[in-house]
Each structure stands twice: as C-alpha cells, then as structure tokens.
Symmetry: C2
Subunit: 478 residues, 2 copies
C-alpha cells in the first residue's frame, strides 16, 4: 500500500533518522540558540495543502533542515540556559523509540500488563532513589504514576484533595456545595491557578501566601493566618501547594513547616518539585524535601533536568484511594477479570486521560543506562557549573546575585538597573551565542542562568558569561 514502508525501508529510513539526530546535535554548537525566526516565517515556507501523493521520507528530512531547524530554539544546545533544561538524552530517546515501535496502550493493566507493571517498578525504584517515604511506593498505601506534565500532576492532586476533603461528594455533586480554597505562595507555579480554574473553583479560590523577600520561600505564618481566616469564614481549604524549587528563582518552601500548618486543618499537601526534585538522587540535596513524609502528593519531572525525553513527570500519592476515588470510571468495554480481582492497578484512574503511552520504558532506559551513580554525577556537574556561574557573578562588580543560587539555577541582575539587565539579556539572546530567560523578583528584573544540560561544559558557561559581559560593556560604551 502506498506510504507503508517495507521492513527494509523502515531500517534504512530509521538509520537515517538516527543519523539526522546525531548530525543535528553535532551542529548545535554553531547554531544560534534562540530562533531568529519572525512570526509567519515557517508557515509561509510550507505548502498550503497536504500532498495528494506520498513523498519519499528523504523530502521530510530535507525540509526539516531547510524550513524547521531555522525556526527552532534549540533546547538541546549546550548554551541553552533559559527556563529549565529539557534534557533529551540518547538513552531516553531510544527507550521512547522502542515504546513507539511496541505501540501498546496501558490504560488498564489488562490492555498490556507489562506497561503497568514496569511503570510501577520503575516508579518504586525512583522513589527509593529520591529517598521518598515508603508509603509512596506501590506496595504501600500509595504509588507512583507517570504524568505528562507537572501541571497535570498538580491538577490531579487537587482533584484527589477535593475527593478526600469532600468524602467523595465532589465526584458526584461537583464543587457547588462548598466554598473551596487552595493555598500557594506568590511564587507557586502558574499551574496552581490553572488547576483551580479547571477544577471549577475559579482563580479566586487561590490564596496567595506571602514569601520571605530574600529567599522567596513561603511564609508559614502567613499560610496559617490565611487558612484560619478562611475556615473562620466557613470556607473549605482543599489543598496547600508547596513549591520545592520555584520556576522563577528556585525558591524552596519549607515542606515540614507548611505540612505542620496544613495538618492543623487536615488539608492535603501537594509538593511541586518539578525542576528541583530530581536532585534528591544525591543524598546531599535531600534537605530540600525535608518533611516530604508528611505530604500527600509529590511531583518531579525527569523530563527537565534528569535526562528523560519529554513527557515524563513522576507523581506519587501517599494514599491511592483518594486518586482513584476522584477519577475512576468503568465503562462496560473495559471491564475485565483482572480489574475486578483487585490484584492490579489500572492507571486510567490515576490521571485525566484514558489512553496512555508506554512511558516507563524511557525512564527505565535512563535509570539503567546511567545507573544511580551516573545520575548523581550528572546532577553534581550541573550544580558545580552553577557554582562557577555564581563565582563569576560575584567577581564582576557590574553584576549581582538576586537570590542565593539554588542547585543549578543562578538568578542575577546588572546593578545598573532593570533596563540594563533586560537589554543585556536581549542582546545575548538576539546574538544567538547563548539563551537566557528573565523573571521579576520583588518587582525588579532579573536574568535566570539555568544550567543542567548534559552537553554544557565549563567552556560553554564561560562563553555565555563573556557574552553577557560584552553586552553590558556595549551599554556602557554607548
């Protein structure tokens, strides 16, 4: 049939795709990190209609080079320091490729037992590697599951929290009966507000808890005050969102202190450690999760720092009944003996989606190919490079640190002010040698220098730093 590749063609084009990736990676160093593309450039280079007749696969690869690559911001570039790294390692890519070839659906255990059981085992492995409490394991009261993103995990946590707090009422009757509230610091990820909006609580249900101006971490006393105020007013607190490593500056809320407050009103504690959590593979970084044994749910993203191709957001709950209680649905065509026996887990009830990919394969590939030693080495190298960035900032009086370095994230500014800071950053980004993103801390502009790509060397950091210095010099000269 037209379009279907023969096994020989698949091997040939498959090798070519592997080669394309290897060549793309080899060329990255020479490419501008941030795309130089203007709105519409890519679109206008593409045909207006799908082709009637099939084309050779080579045409796709050619257009990838000519049309797509110039429109990419290269997240795998060694001098990509914006947002957070999205490491797509060779092992993960090949694990995910194998998953595509297998093409199995893991919505319930019965639709492909290995998809579910490998995920349970790998999440148990990873929970242990991070030092998570035993009740998060699948042989405890809880269990882990791979979600697509931390946003979905936070939303799922909120649904489980509402289920628990309402004793099942919400899944049947909705959220109308109570004035539910959720809590997170002013630095909490935007997905908290989005979760409240999606769950039918509305953005106004989110209580914005104050942070300490220097650390940017949640003030537990303000959390207590807001909880007490809402409870006194007859409102129903559903969830406290604790950020272990915020997006803006990497600030780490005190999990134990927040949990201590939340426990007074028996409120669900969700720990969002999307970026920073994976650092707990190193014992010396477990302090950032101190108190995690008192949390009801926890999420961290191997698809950021920990080398696992997007999407792979690992999420654990301490009591899986709240999760499945909130989300279970059993249509006739999915009924089966294994589910009814209670001997298996059906991951369909652990997230919003029904269909699910065999994502455990790529995480398995990362954990096995690197081993825990290799993962620790990777995290430590990112931290060491960020320490180097920190020392560079300290050694140049034109710059200053905005907050203390957290793991592999350094937040800095040009002392001359906001305009100087943003102009210097934009000059570097536009030049293409490196790419940073900005944030605002206590009302002032700052540059985020996020290390952590497995390709980044000390030379890359130095080159990016020199570009920033030159950009500031250019301003002074002007």
């Amino acid at each position: 049939m037209s379009g279907h590749m023969t096994p020989e063609e698949f091997r040939r084009h498959g090798y070519a795709a592997i080669d394309w990736i290897a060549d793309y990676w080899a060329a990255l160093d020479e490419l501008p990190v941030r795309s130089q593309s203007a709105p519409g450039d890519v679109r206008s280079a593409l045909p207006a209609h799908a082709p009637e007749a099939g084309e050779p696969f080579e045409h796709l690869l050619a257009d990838l080079d000519e049309i797509v690559v110039p429109g990419l911001t290269h997240w795998q570039h060694p001098r990509y320091f914006a947002y957070f790294p999205a490491n797509s390692s060779p092992a993960a890519i090949l694990g995910d490729l194998l998953s595509s070839g297998i093409g199995a659906q893991g919505m319930i255990w019965a639709t492909s037992p290995a998809v579910t059981e490998l995920e349970q085992v790998v999440l148990d492995w990873f929970a242990e590697a991070l030092g998570l409490p035993a009740h998060f394991r699948s042989d405890g009261s809880g269990g882990g599951v791979i979600q697509d993103t931390a946003s979905t995990a936070t939303f799922t946590a909120l649904l489980a929290a509402l289920h628990r707090a309402s004793q099942g009422d919400v899944r049947e009757h909705g959220v109308r009966g109570e004035e539910w509230t959720v809590y997170g610091s002013s630095q909490a990820h935007s997905s908290l507000v989005k979760a409240a909006m999606m769950a039918g609580l509305g953005a106004e249900a989110v209580r914005v808890v104050d942070v300490d101006p220097r650390s940017q971490a949640m003030d537990p006393e303000d959390l207590r005050r807001r909880l007490a105020e809402d409870v006194a007013a007859g409102r129903r607190p559903a969830m406290v969102h604790v950020a272990a490593g915020t997006t803006s500056t990497g600030a780490c809320d005190d999990v134990a202190a927040a949990a201590h407050v939340a426990e007074e009103w028996d409120v669900w504690v969700h720990v969002d450690a999307a970026w920073a959590g994976v650092a707990a593979v190193c014992p010396e970084h477990r302090g950032l999760l101190a108190g995690i044994d008192r949390a009801h749910s926890f999420v961290t993203n191997p698809h950021k720092w920990l080398l696992t191709t997007f999407d792979c957001s690992t999420f654990w709950v301490s009591d899986r009944r709240a999760l499945t209680g909130a989300l279970s649905i059993l249509p006739e065509y999915l009924r089966n003996a294994a589910t009814e026996s209670g001997d298996v887990v059906d991951y369909r009830d652990w997230h919003p989606q029904l269909g699910r990919r065999f994502r455990a394969l790529k995480l398995w590939a990362v954990l096995r190919t690197y081993g825990l030693e290799g993962l620790r080495e990777h995290v430590r190298s990112g931290v060491a490079l960020a320490e180097h960035v920190e020392s560079l900032v300290r050694s140049d009086p034109r710059f200053e640190l905005v907050t203390d370095r957290v793991l592999s994230l350094v937040v800095l500014r040009v002392r001359a002010g906001d305009e100087a800071t943003l102009t210097a950053m934009e000059r570097v980004n536009a030049g293409g040698v490196a790419y940073f993103s900005h944030t605002t801390v206590e009302g002032r502009a700052a540059i985020r220098f996020a290390v952590g790509s497995w390709r980044t060397t000390r030379q890359d950091v130095d080159r990016a730093w020199e570009a920033l210095q030159s950009a500031v010099e250019a301003q002074t000269d002007a």
Copy 2:
C-alpha cells in the same frame, strides 16, 4: 560522564533499536496477541532496586525480549481486533523520533516558533483533508491543536463551553454560581462523565440522552426534552456531546439534528469522533460528519486508525477566544514581545498542560509519506476488510450482527446467547491467535471486531474468524 553515549554509541544503539523494532514486527505473527501474563509476573522478574552503576544498552534490549515482551498485549499485531487499532506506522515513529532528538518545548510560540507554526499548518492541512468548515482553520476564527487524547479534548471543550456560557465568570469565580448541565447519549464515551467530574460539575451534571435501540444513535427529541426540562428548572446547559462513532458499536449521532436542538438554547456542541472522524479523508465517508459546520469543537484521533503514533488527538474549535479565555495564564517568565504583539498563537492556552512536545512532526510525517491518496487507501482497506467480516457473519447461522457495520467496526454475537458469546471470545483471546473485546448492547453481550491495523490482511481476518467459529463448535461439542 558515565551513562552518556558518545555520538558513535548513539548511532550504534540507535540502529540496534530500529532493528529491534523491525524484528519485533516481523515476529508478531507468531506471538499470542493477548499477553498470557498473570498479575505480578513482570514485576517479579524485575530487580527490586535501580542499578547503582550504569549498564550497557544491550542489557535493556535483552530484558525487553525476555521480561517485557511476554507481558505485552501486542497492539500492533495483525490480528489485534480489540478496542480500536492504535496504529503506530513507520513514518510516524520516525517523525516522533526526530521530535525526541530535537527535544524542543512548544508551550509558547517564542520558545520554538517552528513547533507552533508547523502544528498550525499541519492542522489546517488536516482540517481541509477531512472537509471541515473554514472557521476551524487557523486563518479563520478558530484553529486546531494537537491534544494528547480525546478525553483531554472533551474536557478542554467543556472548559471552553463553560467560559463561553458564563461570559468568563467561571474562570474567576468557578462553577458555584449556577447548576450547570451537560448532555450526551447513553453511548457517549466515559470521558464525558470524567470531564464533568474534573470540571467540578460532578457526575450528576451529565444528562444521559436516550438512543435509538437499533442504531444506538442519540435521539434528538430526547435531547430537546431534557434541555427544555433543565432550562425550565433554572439549570444552565453548558455543552452537548455528540458522538460520531461511539466506542461500543460505532454509532453515529446525527450532528446536524443535535446542533439544531442545541442552537435553540445556544449551547456549545462538541463532536467526539475520536475513532471514526479520520475516515472523513474519504469523501464517501464525510456523511458521518454532516452538520459539523454547526459544531463549536471537534476531535478525532490520528493515533487510532490513522497511522500516527500515540499521542496525537487533533482538536479544533470554531472560536479560539473561548478556549484561550478559559485557559490563559501569563506568568512573568513567559512574557515576551511576540505574545504581546498578538501575531502568534501560544498553544499553552489551548490545553490543560503547559509543557508540550513537538507532536506535529509525526503527523506531518504521516501526511507527507502517505499523501492523502495513501491515507484514503488505508481507510478504504479497513472498511473493505470489515465488509468481509460482515459477510462472514451473515453467512454463518450461528452468528448474527448486533448493529449495522460502521466503517471498519463489526459488532456481532453468537445466537446461542450471552454466555456462548463471551465464552467463545474468551477462548479465542486465551488461545492467542486473535484478540477481540466485548461490549453490551441493549443489555446483551456482543463481540467487537475492529479492523484497521495497517498490517491486517484478509488472511488475518479469515484466521481470526475461523478461530471464533472453532470456539463456537467446541461449545456445541461439549
């Protein structure tokens, strides 16, 4: 660093992964379709802890063969006829592999322009290929986006519907102010109830509309009656879910008739054609979507029948403002000139997640490698094979059709009754030569014979049919 592959190692292991897939596919014919694994088999064959030291990638491939493959139900098997096919074609797999290698995030236009623009173009191509109205295109009032699953698309549609009906009130104040209701037939996908639960409306908000007993399609008069009743009681209808091809029997609600009713109360019409919608690439099958020009949103899954590796659920809206109004969030670190110019689309505001993979690449690969001709040929071959199944059922007096064949889905039963039907199916499934799933139609058990894999030949259908016949004979003999 330990674990990182050199470029040469990546090429070597990459070729090996491609070869593994080609070999796995070549071996499928000999493997039992449904896994013979019992709960815990896979888990108990795996180590209890992650390895400390990294292992060679070859170990992973060996364990894949020894531990994982026996625990798989082979969705890519030529005699897989359960649920719906989840076609993972060579072109899509390689497109997705390239996406992993690029490893870009497309949460907003600015984070990698080509990720957004290629998706817009490919969704416009595909909208045209399906004969969708112009207002679903990105240069009209609407636009398309790739969601992970139809469940997420339906949930997203509900959020947009609530935003529109509440004129923005829900995103701020939640759903407390009104008694919102949603409508779908008794055959609507379970994701509708799940969406109502997740959106804070509760399962009780879903009105179960009657179906015609023979066609299993929604009764528009019952829809009208229920809408009128709710409105009279002061409730607020938010969305009508129209199934164009149900999961159970492939029943197609009359989109135009449902829209006609919904328009009386200005209610959002969401058309869920997850499985069947892709058949509209063939002009002769567009009748199933007649009236789609009156829908507010539409979803179909190329990751089922249309050869695109999971996940790829294509979703369109007629007015993108309802979608972005419901979901937009703009934290400081994502602010950028392109977004503020209004010249670009930021897909982050089109679905629950923030992070997003470059999924357009795999759909682009499918559309280009097959061409529209190849896709039509693929759909037609599935339909022709199902017609063959239909004729086999008609020719054997021990069997009967339960509903009329819809496209590539045939629903049948053993005339002797429910027990005979389910026992025969289970015998075939346990034997491994083919795999079917069951359903219940008007209270009676039925077997779903879902064709559509690109590997399925007429011989595969005949062999599966003979296995079913033998299973029935074995019962008669017993």
